[in-house]
Structures are given as C-alpha cells and as structure tokens.
C-alpha cells in the first residue's frame, strides 16, 4: 500500500500571554492508503489539534506534513482548500451543518463546489443510503443528533475523499446512534477504499480501527 500522509517532526505551539503552550511535540506519523487509524488520549493531549493540522485547518509551528505528493505545510490557505475540497472529508463532534440549509442543500454544497452536474440528485442518493430519505428538506434544527451527524457524514464523503478525518463523531450521540454512525463510517471506508483517521474516547470505536495511536502530552506513545 502506498503512503497517503506523512508527518515529519511536527510541532504546534500556542502563545497565551507570556506563556507558550506546547500542544504537539515532534510528531512523526506515516499513514497508508485505505488505512483506518484511531487516535486516543486524554482530554487536552492534542488529538483534535493533530487532525486539524492534517486537514490544513491549522498551521504547524514547525515540521512538515505531506499529503499524497503535496507538502501542505508549504501551501497557502487557498491551495490547501483546493486539496481539502476534493480529497479530505471532515466530520465533527458538533456536526457543523449550515443551520438555514436543508439536509439536501448541506450535502449538495460540497458537490456544487466541485462542479457536479446534478448535485442535489447525488446528495439525495447519499442521504437515502444513510436512511434519511424522509428528511431531505428538513433544516438541521428539525433533525435529531444522529440524523444531523449522518447528514454531516454524507457531506464529508460526498466527493469520495481519499481521507476522512473524524473528531469524536459519536461524542454527542447515544449508544444506539453511536453504533449506527460507526457502522456507516467503517462500512463506507471499506466499500470505497478511503482512509480514516478518527479521534475518539470510545474504546469500542477505537478498537474498530486497524491501527490505534495513543497521544499523551502532545507526543505519540
């Protein structure tokens, strides 16, 4: 399997007043295509920061991050956006749906951005696949937490990305919904051959991944 992602001595620091907080410390990580990885660790250990760096939503203080052939640490914001919109899907614990867009519109937006011919039709197919046929025209506020997360997943995988980044995807859901969401995610990466990097506190979910990484005090253990 070829390399999809490579992190070389990546550091992330924050300045709060006079204090410097080291969030990530010399992270080295290589992931291959179709690999599923779970990241575990205590709160504040740097898990979410790591996937934000990978997704290009945050800039590393030092070190290099390669995604496929691109060194994303060298690219500007728009260039990273261009990679993200085609190759990286992100799922959040808080869903981050656009409140005044319907379920279909939320999903179709990614497709439209990538100039799909029938974005709404594609979006409906995806939502249907996740059991949301009856919720096409509902606003996020009219959906349950599980339904909102399914819409968010549909939106993130709409472009069939090489890599899916998930930050506590079941963190806001009950057991039943958590199970459903994890099944959807893992079945999808299996069927489509995407890679998945997932931050979670849930040991069961973490164990579903082929590889498990533990982070402590900003370092991979």
């Amino acid at each position: 399997m070829s390399i999809l992602l490579k992190l070389k001595k990546v550091n992330l620091k924050y300045q709060t007043g006079k204090d410097t907080i080291k969030v990530l410390n010399n992270i080295d990580l290589i992931t291959k295509k179709k690999e599923t990885i779970s990241i575990v660790g205590e709160s504040g250990s740097g898990k979410t920061s790591l996937i934000m760096l990978i997704g290009g939503l945050e800039q590393a203080t030092s070190g290099k991050i390669f995604f496929q052939d691109h060194e994303i640490t060298k690219l500007n914001e728009d260039e990273v956006s261009a990679i993200r919109k085609k190759n990286i899907g992100i799922i959040f614990q808080s869903f981050y749906l656009i409140p005044n867009y319907t379920a279909v519109e939320n999903v179709a937006l990614t497709l439209e951005l990538n100039k799909f011919k029938n974005p709404e039709k594609e979006a409906k197919l995806l939502l249907d696949r996740f059991g949301l046929k009856h919720r096409f025209n509902n606003l996020p506020s009219q959906l349950s937490g599980g339904e909102q997360q399914r819409v968010a997943i549909a939106r993130s995988i709409a472009m069939k990305p090489e890599l899916i980044l998930a930050d506590e995807p079941t963190g806001n859901l009950d057991t039943e919904n958590s199970l459903m969401i994890s099944d959807i995610l893992f079945n999808y990466v299996k069927e489509e051959g995407s890679s998945l990097i997932m931050v979670t506190h849930d040991p069961k979910l973490a164990n579903k991944a082929k590889r498990k990484i533990k982070i402590k005090d900003g370092k991979i253990k």
């Binding site: 728009d78 992100i90 749906l97 439209e112």
Partner: protein, 845 residues
Amino acid sequence: MEKSNNSSEVNLIFKYAFKDLSRNYKKIISIIITLFISLFILSAIFTIEDSLKKELNDNAKALLGGDLEIDYNRNEGNLKLVTKVKEFATISQMIEFSTMVATINRDKNKSLFTRIKTVDEKYPLYGTVEYEPEGAFDRMQNEPNTVLINESLSKTLNLKINEQIKVQDKLFTVIGIVKSVPDVSGFVAFGDWALAGKQTLEILKLNGIGSFLNYEYKVKFNENDDEQEIEERIENIFKDDQKVKLRYPENSASGLKRIINNFSQFLSLVSISAMLIAGIGVANTLLSFINQNNMSIAVRKAVGFYSGDIKILYYLQLLILLFVVTTLAYGSSFLIVPFVDQYLSDGLGLNVLPVFSIINFIKIFLIGLLVLIIFSIPTINSIDQVKASNLFRNVFQNLEFYYSKKSVILSFLLLSILVLVFSYNSENPIYSIGYFAAFFVCLGVFFLLSKLIIFFLKKFRSTPNISLKVSIKNITQTKSITPITIMSLGLGVTLLLTLALVGTNFKREIAKSIPNIAPDYFFVGIQKGEKEKFETNIFEMDPNAKVEIVPMVSSGIVKINGINPNTYISSDNDSYWVIGSDRRSSWVNEVPEDNPITEGKWWDLTKSNELQISLDAKVAQDLKINLGDIFTLNIYGREIDGKIVNFRSVDYRDLSINFAMLFNPQFANNIPHEYLATTKFKNIENFDEISMLEVLPSLSMIKIADYLNKVTSVLNKVFMAVTLISAVTIIIGLIVISSAIMVQGKVKEYQNLVFKIIGFTKRDVILSSIIEFLIIFNSVILIATFFAVIASKFIMENLFELVWKFDFKVLLTLGFSIGLVTLLLIMLTNLKYLNPKVYPLIRNQ
C-alpha cells in the same frame, strides 16, 4: 423562578440589569454611539431653537424698536395722525435710504452702495446701540455731516475714525464705529450700513425713488399705560389710512424668525430621520447582541427565568442606557450654543445663551424612549424564540425579529404618540406628519422590494457559479434577513443621497456664476434730465459698453377689480410683495427678449389714452388674475385704472431688468419718472465709479458681483450648517448599514467556517459577499434615488426657497460613490467573518 411580582424579584431584575450593562457595554458600543449622536442632534436643535427664540422674545420690543411701529414705507406719511399719537406716547422717527458712499483724498478712491439709517435723539426707544468711541452717538446727533459706520463698511472701504467720506456730493466725517443696533428687524442684518443724525436727510435732499427711502415711526407707551388700550387707540387713529402698516413686538424680526423656523424645520426633520434610522440601527445591533447571548438566554431559561423576566431585563438595560445617554447628549448640546452665539452676535447683535428646559429634556427623552421601544419590540420579542432545549440539541439558532398581533398594535400606538409628540409645536405640523408618512411609505416600499427580489431570485437558482449560487441562497433562504438589510440599507442610502443632493444643489447655488445676460452694474436714481449725461459718461469710459436705460415710476396697487387687493392673496404667499407696498414699474415698446408673453397680446396701440398693464405670469397665477382684470394704481397720489392685457414669464434670477408690471409707453410716457439703467462693459476696468459720482452725485451704483458675493457668503454659512448636520447623520446612516451586517455576523461567521472546512477558497467567499451586496444595492439604489430626488427637491424649494436642479451626472457619481463606500464598509465589517479562524471556533473559544 416565580413570576416577578414582588419587590425582591424586581430588585433581582434591577441587579442583573446593572450587572449585564456594566459587563456588556463594550459589546453595545455602536448602540451607545448611534443613540448619542442622534440624541445630540435632537438636543442641539431644541436647545439652539429655544435659546434663539428666547433671545428674540425677550428682546421683541428692542428688535421692533418700540412698543409699536408705524410704517409708511416710501412716504413720509400723514404727519397729522402721527402728531396725534405724540400726544400720549413717545415717538422716534427713523428714515432709511440707500446711496453711494465714497472715500476721498486717496490715490485710488473706492465707493459702495450703502444703507443709511437716520435717527433722532430719542433713538433707540428700547435696547442700546453699541459703538465706539465714547460720546460718538451724541456727537452724531448734534454735529451735522457726521456718521457712524458699521464694522463691515469700515472693513470694505478701509475707513478709519475721523476720515472724511463723500455721500452724494456732500462731505461727511466718520466719527465712530457701530458694533450693533437693537432693532435689526427693519434693518440690514448683514452687509454695509451706517447711522446718521435726523438732519442728514435735509442735507442730502433725497427724494428720488432710486434712494429706496423708508419712513418709520417707533412708538413707546408711557410706563403706566394699558398697552392694549393704547394699541387700540392708535389703531383707531390710523383706521382710515390705507398706506400705513402697524407692527407689534410679536411681528418683530419676522424675516429672521421665518429663516429660523424654516431652518429648524429642516433640522428637526433631519434629526428625526437620524432618530428613526438610529432606531433601526439599535434594533439590528440589539438583535446581533441577543444572538451573541443566545446561549446565556437559553441557560437563564433553563435555570427558571421566565421569558418575560428576561425581556424586562433587556428593556431595563435600554432604559438605563437611554437616560444616561440623553443626559449626556442634552448636556453636550449646550456646548454648541457659544458657537451659534459668536456667529449671530457678529451679524445681528443677538446674544444667545443656553437655556435649560426640563420640558425639552423630557421631550428628548420621550422621543428617544418611543423610538427605542418601537424598534426594540420585535428585537426583544425574539427572546421568546430561544429554547432551553437548544442546549441539549447542540443547534445554533439564529434569532429573527418577531412580531405578534399584540406587539404590532403596541408599536402602532407608540408610533402615533411619537408622531404627535414630534409634530406638536413643530413649525409646520403638516410637513412633520407628511414626513413621517413618507418615511414609512419608504420603509414599506423597501420591504416590498425585498420580497420582490426574493421572489425573482428563487426562479434563478440554477447557475453553475458557486459564489452566485451561495449569494442567491443567502438572499432567498428561509428566515433570510434580506428584508431588514434592504430596509436599513434603503433608508440609509436614501438619506445619504437626499443630503448629498441637497448639499450639491446648495453648492451649485453658491458657486452659481453670474448669468451670461446679467449686466455688470445696476444704476438707479438717474433723473429725467440726467439720462444723456449718464450715457455720455459711460461711453466715454467704455465705448463698447452695452447700456440699457428704462424709465421707472413708483406705484402701489390700491384696488383689484374695485376691491381691496388684500382679499386676493394672503400675506404668506410668495407674490404678496407685489401688493404689499409701492412697486417700481416701467414701460417698453417691444416685448423684452427674456420676458416672453405667455398669454394675451402686447400693447393695443389704438388705446393709447388708456393704461394697459403687462403682468408677471407667476404673480397673476398667485393673485388669480385674469386678462381684462383692472388694477387701480396710485401713482404720485393719483389713482389710475389699468387693464391687464398680457402675462409675461419673468425670471428674476437672470439679474437683468425685470419688472412685475410693465405699462404701455403711449400712456406712461406722460407720467413723471426717473430712469433705471444696466450696463455690461466690454472693458470693466475702464469704468471708474468715483468719476461717475462726480458727474452724477445722486446716482446709486450696484455692482452685481458684490451683490452676489453677499448672497454667497450667507448661503455659505447655511451650507456649512447643512453639511455639518448631514455629515453627522451620514455617520449614523453608515453605522446602521454596518449594523445590518452585524445582525448576520454570527450566522455568516459560522457559515463561512463550514464553507472553509469543505474547501471554499477565500475568493469564493468574498465573491459571494460582493455578489450578494451588488444584487441588493443595485435594486435599492434605484428606489432610493427616486425618493431622494423628491425629498431633496422638496427641501430645496420649500424649506430653503432655493433652486433645485436635476443633475444626472451628479446623481450617477453620488450613487457610485455611496455604493463603493457602503461596499467597503460592508467588506470591512464582514472581514472578520469572511475568513474565520477555524481552530478557536471549533474549540468553542
């Protein structure tokens, strides 16, 4: 928490209101600024108007020059009747006239057309004359050929005390400088003038109509007399004298009062515009603020606060804020009075002092409160939409204005009170009520426009351009704030355009060059035997000068169709001046080039023994005169009937010779007359006023450029005031426009965050914002231009009585500039939302 119906709960709400306000005042700084500016304008206008009116009322008798004024205008009047009044009251006679004043014994002498007021030793009956040096006023009364000149004349002719001047062919000595006289009402407020003793008129032997003589008798009642009784007695004495006009203190400074009233009417409308627009701004900012506090409201509800309690909490904060801001704004308005005082004391000798009025304070607070409540009702009602359950569902809920039937009725009631409070006591309640109606019509039209835009855009949703698609979606989405953005932007842009159009029209009036056909000089007071001498002298100095000489006679309209002319027109009509006093009229053989006939025929040569009259068409329309009507004119004491045979279109602004009435020369040539002349020089530098005066000492010369400069200087001062107040209102307009964007702030920031996550570039986001603005602005500007054109035309023509002109180029430039500035403002306000930092947001920081 139980419903707040006992004192401890009220205390709790007060405690939280103060706590929230002290912690959040930085977040609502734009509410504070908007409120302060608008209340400051309102306070300043109320304070200045009150201070001015108090000064005018306190000095009404001084401004009139007595308890009563007997005005005979251009005639000496019936002295027998005046003597009768002298039996029980003190009378001071005053005669004003205009003539040339020239320097002597200089290398290059200068002359100036000057108004001179001759007064007797009883002057002034009320108030004081301020002059220097000491004793100069008494010297002027006792020593012949002495004058006191005002500061402006002293500066213009560079005259010093004890310097000699020539008035007509007589020498006078300047023995002092007058700083102010109490009775500015019947006198020249701005410009050049002088005071002289009563003997002056005899020395100069003035009698021609070119001297613009004006006879007035000021009356002072004895101290213990009943004013009303004496007034009635005097009215009785003059009841059969049609030439006299009696004036009372309440009529004093009527011209000045009219200017103040018109100007304060305009300023009041601007200030209420500022208040109403500020109200929209407050509503927007408050909604944005409540949206920011969405979570804390939900938490409060979760711990047991009633929705009503939370709303009271917000109303209370607004009330506290309004009280503090009103106090500050009203207090600060007193700082403006010294500036007004300085400006007015220079020209008019009025000393304006700040007048504290608790009624004004309450009125300002009440107007502020009404505006605030009217616009806050739908905003604060949005609190009802916040659900404590949102805390569990992790849903970001954007609040929107919320109207219930009850709140609509309440808003309407409060609005009616606001209209009544504002219109009551306003100079012209009809204008004020009309203004409110227009304001809400504008609001309604912009609301309909927003609905129309949404309706049409919904049909254009299939477009491959993602930025366009997002902007259309933003405009048309459910719960879109497009209507409020369009209403705010529309009213803001309308106000900006209106004030800009008023400003540019003012500027054009100020910069208006002398019309091409206008002469360089007007010459008045050319006697019958001096006509040739005048022409010879002009042509000696400039052989190529273009001279126009017309005969001139003074006549008064005594009757129209046999009845009193006052029954035809009210004294506040624009054309009242035609019958108000004696008018100068002329006669010509041919129709004047710039006075085309609009109706009727030129002179009927077969009826040369009858007086035929050609009348100004506008005057005819105002007086409701038809062709064939008869004017009975008093010419040199003889009453002559004249028939109206035609109407002419007269444009007095071209500054050429224009008369409201022209007579047929075949008849009028026999009337004793003098001449009026205009001259347009080829080489104006060859014309020497002093040499002209040496040949014709009684000649009066009015240089058009000097006259226009005086008008320009007054207009400039008004323009400065208009610009200043407009600039302040424009600031409010801009704050409101940005507040409309702030309402969307949180949603925009969130939306752009999601866009960024899924791969939108900064360019896509900015482009969609620009497209959204352009769609809205382009629709708004058309309607706003329409309203602004109507409003600015009304303001210029009705309130300032100046010319309004439609200038497409100016409108285009203004529209483009306002669009650009608004776009920049929106982009600046939006900047932090356009490219949000993902990490702090995701981390809920």
